[in-house]
C-alpha cells in the first residue's frame, strides 16, 4: 500500500523485462535488432493505447470490458462513413472516433448516473457495441483505402513507425497526468475511497465520466490506427483485446481494486508481453506455448510483488 512497495513492483518488472530481453536475444540473433523492436512497437500500439487509458479506469477501481467492441464499432464506422456515405476519409475517421468516444461516454453515464457496477455495465455494452458494429456493417468489410491513409498504420516518421510516436506521446502525457496533476490525484482518491473523495468536494462523477470517455476515445483512435495498419475494416476487429489490455495493466502493478498503479508499470507490462510474444516465436516456440507462458508470467509477477509488499508492511 505504501509508495515504497509499488515502486518495488515497477523495478521488479523492469528487471524482469531486461532479463527477458537478454535471454530472448541470446535465443535468436534476429530478436534484438532495431528493426524488429520498432516493428514490435508498431504491433503493440493499439493494445498500448487502450491499456494506458485502462490504467486510469482500473486505478479508480473500475474496469472497461467494452473497449474491444468500441474498437470494432469505430473501425466499421470509419469505413461506412467513407465508403457508403461518401464522407471524405479524414472527416469519416474523425466522425467515427467521435462516435467511439461517445460510446465510452455512454459507459460512463450508465456507471455514474445509474450506479451500475463498471464490470456489469461494460459487459453489457461489450455485447451491444459489437452488435451495433455488425448491424451497421451488414457484415461487409470496407477496403481499398487511399495510400496516404496507410501512413498512419504502416508508414514511418523519422525511421520510427508512425503509430509508435502516438503511443509514446500518449504514454508520457498520461504518466505525467496520473503522477503530477490533480486529475491523477482525484483518480487515486476515488480508487481508494470514493465516498471520502466525494465528501472532499472532488468531482467524482465528473472524473469517472471523463475517464470512461477517455477509454472510449483511446479505443477509437486505436481502431483507426488498426484499420490503417491492416487496410481493411471488419466488424469483428479487436475482439478479445480488452483482456490483453487488462493483462498488461495488471502485470504493470495496477491494483484491480483501485487506488494504485502507474502508467510506467503498464508500459513495462506491455513491453514484457510483446517481447515474450515476439522473442519466443523467434526462438521457435509456437503461439499457444507463448500464450501459456504469458499467463504464468502474469501470475508469478503479481505473486512476487504481493510477497514483496507483505515483507514491506508488517
Amino acid at each position: 500500500m505504501t509508495l515504497r512497495s509499488f515502486i518495488r513492483h515497477e523495478t521488479f518488472l523492469a528487471i524482469l523485462l531486461v532479463l527477458a530481453l537478454f535471454v530472448l536475444s541470446w535465443q535468436s540473433d534476429r530478436f534484438f535488432t532495431v528493426a524488429n523492436l520498432l516493428n514490435q512497437g508498431r504491433l503493440m500500439t493499439e493494445t498500448g493505447l487502450i491499456a494506458i487509458a485502462m490504467t486510469f479506469v482500473i486505478a479508480t477501481g473500475g474496469i472497461d470490458l467494452s473497449v474491444g467492441s468500441i474498437l470494432g464499432l469505430t473501425a466499421i464506422l470509419t469505413g461506412v462513413f467513407w465508403k457508403n456515405l461518401g464522407v471524405p476519409l479524414p472527416a469519416a475517421a474523425v466522425a467515427a472516433i467521435a462516435v467511439g468516444t461517445f460510446a465510452g461516454y455512454v459507459n460512463g453515464l450508465i456507471i455514474t448516473r445509474f450506479r451500475v457496477p463498471a464490470l456489469i455495465a461494460t459487459l453489457a455494452t461489450l455485447a451491444l457495441y459489437r452488435g451495433l458494429a455488425e448491424g451497421v456493417s451488414q457484415a461487409r468489410s470496407v477496403r481499398g483505402y487511399p495510400d496516404w491513409f496507410y501512413v498512419l498504420g504502416q508508414g514511418e516518421v523519422l525511421g520510427v513507425p508512425t503509430q509508435l510516436w502516438i503511443l509514446l506521446i500518449a504514454a508520457v502525457v498520461a504518466a505525467v497526468i496520473l503522477a503530477y496533476t490533480r486529475w491523477g490525484r482525484t483518480t487515486y482518491a476515488i480508487g481508494s475511497n470514493e465516498v471520502a473523495a466525494r465528501f472532499s468536494g472532488l468531482s467524482v462523477e465528473g472524473t469517472k465520466l471523463a475517464l470512461y470517455t477517455m477509454s472510449g476515445f483511446a479505443a477509437a483512435v486505436a481502431a483507426v490506427i488498426f484499420v490503417s495498419r491492416v487496410s481493411t475494416t471488419r466488424s469483428d476487429m479487436g475482439s478479445g483485446i480488452e483482456l490483453d489490455a487488462i493483462t498488461a495493466v495488471v502485470l504493470g502493478g495496477t491494483s484491480i481494486f483501485g487506488g494504485r498503479g502507474t502508467v510506467l508499470g503498464t508500459v513495462l507490462g506491455l513491453c514484457l508481453i510483446q517481447a515474450l510474444k515476439n522473442g519466443l516465436s523467434l526462438a521457435g516456440v509456437k503461439g499457444d506455448g507463448t500464450i501459456m507462458l504469458i499467463g504464468i508470467v502474469l501470475i508469478l509477477a503479481v505473486l512476487a510483488s504481493a510477497i514483496f509488499e507483505r515483507s514491506g508492511t508488517r
Binding site: 516493428n39 491492416v230 487496410s231
Partner: protein, 347 residues
C-alpha cells in the same frame, strides 16, 4: 430471397446449370514476386504454414498434407503455427515474426484477404517465397494461390446436391460461422446466384451465425428446425464445425430423411451421420491434398520451375495441376463424399 443471406457484395459468376465447365478465359499472371531471393534451387527450405487458426479438423488435415509433402521431398522443413482464434491481428503478428526469423517460404490461409496483404508483401520484399491456400489474399501479395475449388464450383455442387435431395420446390436455411468470414460469405453469394439461376423455385429461408462453436451451431440448427417445422426441408452447413452440428440437430430431432443436411465438412466428423444415413452428401475437396499441393507449389516457386506464365505445375502424386485465372492453381473439382466412399478417407 430474404434480406440477410450472409453473402458478400462482390460480383458473382454462377456456373452453367448443366455440367459444362466454366470457360476459363486466359488471364495474365497477376501474382507478386519476391525481391531478389537467394538461389534456393534444390536447397532445403525452412517453411512455416500459417493457417487461419489451429485446432480445427480442417487445418489439421491441411498441415498433415504439407508435412507429408515435405517428408516426400526431403528438402523442406515445414512447421505449422497459427492463431488460436480466427483473428486477423494474431495471424498478421505471427507471420511478421516469421519474416523476422528469416524463413525461406510462407504458406498461408488468410483470415482476411486484404488485412493480410501488407505483411505478405513485406515477406516478398524480404525475398521470401509466399504461397497461399484455402483462403486467398490480394493476388499481388503472394506468388501463387492453390485454389481448392472455385467458389462457383462449390456453390454448384452444394446447391445441386441439395436440390437433388429436397427437390426443386424445397426450402432451405443456412448455418454459417460469421457473416464476416470471407470464404463463407463468398460461397453463400455464389450459392444464391446459382440457386436463382438454376433452381429458381427453391426457397431460401434464412442464414444464421454460429461462430466456430459447435454447440451454438447445434442450438441454431434446432431453432431453425423448430421455427419452420415441416416447411424446412434442408440445412446447409457452411463450415466443418456447423455441418456436423446441424446433422446432429437433425438426428436428435428425429428428422433424418425429412430434413436434409448438405455442407462442407471433413469426413471424420461426418462419418457417424453419413453412415447412419442421415446425411447423404458432404461437399469438400481433400484438405490433405490441398496442403500437399501447396507445399509442392511453394517448392516449385522457390526452384523457379513454376514461373509466371506457366500453365501447369507438377504436384507429386497429384500429378499436373492447371493454372487458372492468372496466378491460381486449381486443386480440382470439389469432391462429394457419400456413404460409399467416405470411409476411404481419414482426416
Amino acid at each position: 430471397q430474404s434480406a440477410w443471406t450472409g453473402g458478400d457484395d462482390l460480383p458473382t459468376n454462377p456456373l452453367a446449370c448443366d455440367a459444362t465447365p466454366a470457360t476459363a478465359e486466359a488471364k495474365p499472371y497477376d501474382g507478386g514476386q519476391p525481391t531478389n531471393p537467394p538461389d534456393r534451387k534444390g536447397k532445403t527450405l525452412t517453411v512455416v504454414d500459417v493457417p487461419k487458426l489451429v485446432g480445427i479438423g480442417y487445418f489439421n488435415a491441411t498441415s498433415k498434407g504439407i508435412a507429408d509433402a515435405a517428408k516426400e521431398m526431403g528438402t523442406m522443413n515445414a512447421k505449422t503455427d497459427g492463431p488460436s482464434k480466427a483473428n486477423i491481428d494474431d495471424q498478421i503478428t505471427l507471420i511478421d515474426n516469421y519474416i523476422t526469423s528469416g524463413v525461406d517460404g510462407i504458406l498461408f490461409a488468410a483470415n482476411d484477404p486484404v488485412a493480410i496483404s501488407p505483411v505478405l508483401k513485406k515477406a516478398l520484399a524480404a525475398g521470401i517465397n509466399v504461397v497461399g491456400y484455402d483462403a486467398n489474399s490480394e493476388p499481388d501479395a503472394r506468388q501463387w494461390f492453390v485454389n481448392q475449388a472455385e467458389f462457383n464450383g462449390i456453390a454448384k455442387a452444394m446447391v445441386d446436391s441439395m436440390a437433388s435431395e429436397i427437390g426443386e420446390e424445397g426450402s432451405f436455411a443456412i448455418v454459417t460461422s460469421t457473416f464476416t468470414t470471407p470464404n463463407q460469405a463468398r460461397w453463400i453469394s455464389e450459392m444464391a446466384a446459382y440457386q436463382a439461376k438454376c433452381h429458381p423455385k427453391m426457397k431460401w429461408l434464412e442464414t444464421v451465425e454460429a461462430q466456430e462453436d459447435n454447440i451454438l451451431s447445434f442450438n441454431q440448427s434446432n431453432t431453425l428446425i423448430n421455427k419452420y417445422g415441416d416447411e424446412l426441408k434442408g440445412i446447409f452447413g457452411m463450415t466443418s464445425v456447423a455441418t456436423p452440428a446441424a446433422a446432429d440437430a437433425v438426428t436428435q430431432a428425429k428428422k433424418c430423411g425429412s430434413v436434409a443436411v448438405v455442407g462442407l465438412a471433413t469426413p471424420n466428423a461426418m462419418k457417424p451421420y453419413v453412415s447412419a444415413g442421415c446425411v447423404k452428401s458432404v461437399v469438400l475437396w481433400n484438405p490433405v491434398d490441398l496442403g500437399y499441393a501447396a507445399a509442392y507449389v511453394l517448392r516449385a516457386a522457390a526452384d523457379g520451375t513454376l514461373a509466371p506464365g506457366a500453365t501447369s505445375v507438377k504436384a507429386g502424386k497429384l500429378g499436373d495441376l492447371s493454372v487458372i485465372n492468372g496466378s491460381e492453381i486449381l486443386l480440382g473439382a470439389p469432391f462429394v463424399f457419400t456413404k460409399d466412399n467416405i470411409n476411404d478417407f481419414d482426416f
